[in-house]
Amino acid sequence: MEPTRARILIVDDEAVVRDSLGDWFRDEGYECDTAESAKVALEKLTHGSWDIFLLDIRMPGIDGLELQRKLKEAQPDATVIIMTAYASVESAVEAMKQGAYDYIIKPFNPDDLEHTIQKAVERKQLVSENQQLRTKIDELNLLHEIVGTSAATRRLLEQVAMVSASDTTVLVRGESGTGKELIARAIHANSGRRYMPIVVVNCGALSEGVLESELFGHEKGAFTGAQYRRKGKFEMADGGTLFLDEIGDIGLKTQVDLLRVLEEKKIFRVGGNVEIPVNFRLIAATNKNLETMISEEKFREDLYYRINVFSITIPPLRERREDIPLLADHFLKKFARGMNRPLMKLSSEAKEVLTNFEWPGNVRELQNAIERAVLVCQSAKIMAEDLPLKMNHANGNAAGRSLAEIERLHIKRTLEETGWNIYRAARLLEIDRVTLYNRIKKYGFKREAIDPRAGSKAS
């Protein structure tokens, strides 16, 4: 079904404003038309209708104020937004008194412009009608990514379904690589907040000071160098979900601040004195034992009780071995499709090796093993030899080498295997692309021949 979109008419005598704004709105999914004068705008009104009018206040002939009066006569519920330069803010205020919805100052701050238009559109209750977006997001409920038939996986799916419908705070626990972020994303994608963003913060990756600024944002002039206002993650998650990964890594001071936000649902930006209400659902994750941390006074007990309302524990892969063949098959299909390879199968030996392995790195390690196997396998059947060496207990060739040497060789081999596809190599190595780049620099690797075939990216 074609979604209902807001219709906008831009009236401005400057062609550059009409064209740029017109393109921008169309790009954002609005229906848009332009008029170079009030006269043309009034003519257009006789054979079309618009939800929002953007009027330049200074135009030759009939100016914006006069046009607003005429528009309101013809269409009393017209939403008018006045466009003005700094010099004519006073007349914009006059326009507001006469019923304009809002005014925006040229040149526009993109954030302000979008905010103003969105407010106006929301008032007309059109945003909620964006069926296209909803259909798309509804397809992405991510439950199909949680693969397995074991009792543990079925229980996991039940828990996700149960908690998604509510707005409860969730604590996701599990070893590294078990898929804590996937569970958080699945809960978000199946919740009433799915049309708004999920904001992910890796608390372990940031120092305490930076984490505070990241979470709360800051006002212009809050500290030396803060020339611009910056929104924090709490604000960015407004209406959606905030996923705090590695919550066990946050310092005691930030724990106090976080607890206050969770209780009061309000924040102050750093250096700000205006209270900002925030409405987000919190999902936290950790691979640490928070109970032990409480006894060691490293984690606040009151925060623990606040976040541990509904707890989901993802079992390690070695405790649900019956899921391994299914998961392997799922990844096999995914990577074969992504690399434009024909349908591939696992040999029975390969299946056995996979099922018997301990998987200290859990599902992520299994995913990487399959991705690498698809890359190196020459036929349509993955053999045990195509799997990473350590699974075949044959890593003796690294004996006697330093850690740095093993790292160097491992990165070099992965780059060669992936045809220098940085995206895929970084994922296989479980490091981010910037870290991989830094290692490439450190070891002085050079791509020998540039091969564009390296470009097909996995989904």
Binding site: P110, I198, G225, A226, Y437
Partner: protein, 188 residues
């Protein structure tokens, strides 16, 4: 299906951190299925400087890139550290010709230090990659995407750049692979 475009040429505009460009030359081939080369010619942004705004006119720089591009089945990505604007906006992170040969991006407002925060090079590289991918995505014919996680999501602010991923969503990715060059129109 592979894109018919075989080459992305990176053009430094003004004084740009070489490591940023080198980083892009390594990451972009995997994303677009095209090899990436550094242009021997650089572009001086001086002519696009606007005294009043103390910023550089993005569309004018894009035109200069377009004049450089010539014919062929490659794309040109201008990378700069100067602050860009178009007349209706206070700033832009970049601009591109949809389905055209040229795209342009600026790292100016992607530095943490611009916002008074401690320098974070890894974050800068990540943001630069996102914006370069976004603008090149336009040049490859893609429009904005409503998915919060997709690199083609429009970003009004650096906070929104951080919100999206460096990759195309599962709907934009196949479109990219099949995109014929569309009609020219500038997009930010």
């Amino acid at each position: 299906m592979q894109s018919p475009v075989t080459e992305i040429k990176l053009v430094a505009i003004g004084d740009v951190d070489r490591e940023l460009i080198e980083y892009l030359s390594l990451t972009l081939p995997g994303t677009f299925g095209a090899r990436c080369v550094l242009s021997a010619t650089e572009l001086n942004p001086r002519a696009a400087y606007n005294e009043t705004r103390r910023q550089y006119h993005s569309t004018q720089l894009l035109q200069q890139l377009h004049d450089m591009a010539g014919s062929g089945c490659g794309k040109l990505l201008g990378v700069t550290d100067v602050d860009l604007f178009i007349p209706i906006f206070t700033f832009v992170f970049g601009e591109a010709q949809v389905g055209g040969s040229c795209a342009l991006m600026s790292a100016h407002r992607l530095h943490q230090t611009f916002y008074g925060l401690p320098d974070d090079r890894a974050l800068l590289f990540e943001r630069v990659e996102k914006e370069a991918t976004h603008e090149l995505g336009h040049a490859f014919g893609l429009a904005h995407c409503p998915d919060f996680n997709c690199v083609m999501r429009f970003s009004n602010s650096v906070e929104e750049v951080d919100l999206k991923a460096s990759d195309f969503c599962r709907l934009c990715e196949p479109k990219l692979r099949q995109m014929p060059d569309a009609t020219l129109a500038a997009r930010c």
